[in-house]
Amino acid sequence: MLRYLRIYLAFVRNCAVREMEFRTDLVLFSVSNVLTSALLVLMMAFLFARTREIAGWTAERVVLVTGTQIIVTAMLDFLFFKNMSMLSRYVNRGELDMVLVKPLNSQFLVSLRYVDFSQLPSMVVGAAYVIGAVQRAGIAVTPLSIALYLALLGIAVVMFYSLWFLTVTLVLYVGRINNIQYLIYPVIEQARLPTDVFRGPLRLAFSFILPIAFVATVPAKALSGLLEPGTLLYGLAFAAATLGLSVWFWNFSLKQYSGASA
């Protein structure tokens, strides 16, 4: 465990050194990421300015959800985007074998080898929106609600990393496909709206089956002190289950995989 932590820190350091060699790119992509995040919140404000409120959510409170969604997606992108892209590239180019022979857990290596620093500024933007929304909407936060909020962000990251990794693992079966790492985005993008604005089967799906509610709606509610213990338990169980499934599916798929270069 300690060994893996040391290796991970070495990965991060290595990526940081690399980024410093391409500083202009880092600045360019950071700026574009920040602008995209800012625009997202603006669009929500426009939408809710027109509809006033939807299912009890006003423009002010929606920023809490959208800001949280920005934090979680930026976090996921920071930790995993490059890795998921590289994984599908390894398979497309037949280079996965080179990864598998390394004396490390293969899922650890393919999932965490790279970090993308251009995502960090977006995280700050998301946090700023959340803090601003808390103050403007006059939400009384407590140490407990903040702790629950942060824990739920962690649950969301684990849950959606697992779902992401599950989808990208499919590349081992499909072989030639170069964009499967993007499949998660249209789904997680929808989490910027509070899931309460949906009704019927869509709401059910977003709460339980493909629970994008856990990306932003549930943490935002927890911050306002409206979290139900059952929801928290369901989130924990779902995150653990998807993580377990991703480990099982990865190992199962590797056994099926015949390689490309052999």
Binding site: F29, S32, F46, N179, E189, L193
Partner: protein, 294 residues
């Protein structure tokens, strides 16, 4: 920067093919274009899995937005002139038109320039623009196969919340013409965007600024006439709403009389401007490209 291998190119820089070969007859040219389109379609079919993944970017959001608006309409009849069926039809229209009218040649173009593969295409007797267009049209033909079942299913599920648009018979050909113009406009804008790779090594950075505006002003997220007035006013000076928002408004019967003709006139103007723009940028870029290779 660009690796250039073909020695013939330095001898005949601007249009090498015409210098090396006799001009094609019209018949031969038509045959060549038909073969090109057929080959591009075959190639696009090879990439159907990729196409399906990109398609999720186009159909998920409009359908989810319909879900949100249905909640809004549970409590009221009308949102600034949009009744419930109008709104549902609007997002179904966004789903279909954003899929079919927005090509993505910027990636291919910038990649060709960056890797120097462009040289291969420059020495062929068919203009590069034809390759680009054929490839984009072919990808859209595959998208037709993908969007049709999703549209049919959505119509079945949404059932009584949809009603056909109140459009005169002459509205339909006009709508189709406006769609073709929107596709051509978008294609030219995006080829221009891809051409920035002649000057910049990381063209994706520029793309993301384009997408920023496109996200808001294409009408993908919400109808532009529901935006706050000053924000919407800025949009009328940009080309993005002439890609599929204007055709869609026409289809919904929300553009009539003088406003209709004005919108179509501006669309045509943008189309002409974008064609001129892409020609200028392409020519200047080619000079630059050759300077780099030679």
């Amino acid at each position: 920067m660009a690796v250039i291998e073909a020695p013939a190119r330095s001898e005949a820089p601007a249009q090498p093919a015409t210098a090396l070969l006799p001009p094609l007859t019209l018949r031969a040219r038509l045959r060549a274009y038909r073969a090109l389109l057929a080959a591009s379609y075959q190639e696009a079919l090879q990439y159907r899995a990729e196409s399906a993944v990109w398609f999720t970017f186009e159909f998920v959001q409009p359908l989810v937005m319909i879900g949100m608006w249905l909640t809004v309409y549970a409590g009221r009849q009308d949102v600034d002139g949009y009744a419930r069926p109008d709104m549902v039809l609007y997002y179904l229209g966004v789903m279909v038109l954003a899929t079919l009218l927005v090509p993505h040649p910027e990636w291919w173009v910038s990649e060709l320039i960056r890797t120097g593969e462009l040289s291969q295409y420059l020495i062929k007797p068919i203009p590069v623009a034809a390759w680009q267009l054929a490839s984009e049209v072919a990808w859209k033909l595959v998208r037709v196969l993908l969007v049709t079942p999703v549209l049919v299913l959505s119509l079945l599920v949404l059932g009584q919340t949809v009603r056909p648009p109140a459009l005169d018979w002459w509205g339909y050909p006009l709508f189709l013409a406006s769609c073709v113009a929107g596709f051509a406009l978008c294609h030219c804008l995006k080829v221009t965007l891809g051409c920035t790779a002649f000057w910049i090594s990381k063209a994706e950075g520029v793309f993301s600024f384009y997408w920023l505006f496109e996200q808001l002003y294409s009408g993908r997220f919400m109808p532009l006439d529901l935006l706050p007035a000053p924000v919407a006013a800025l949009g009328t000076w940009l080309p993005f709403q002439y890609i599929y928002y204007v055709p869609l408004q026409l289809f919904l019967g929300r553009l009539t009389g003088a406003a209709l003709w004005q919108a179509l006139g501006v669309q045509l103007l943008w189309l002409v401007t974008s064609v001129l723009l892409v020609r200028v940028v392409w020519r200047r870029g080619l000079v630059r490209y050759e300077a780099m290779g030679g």
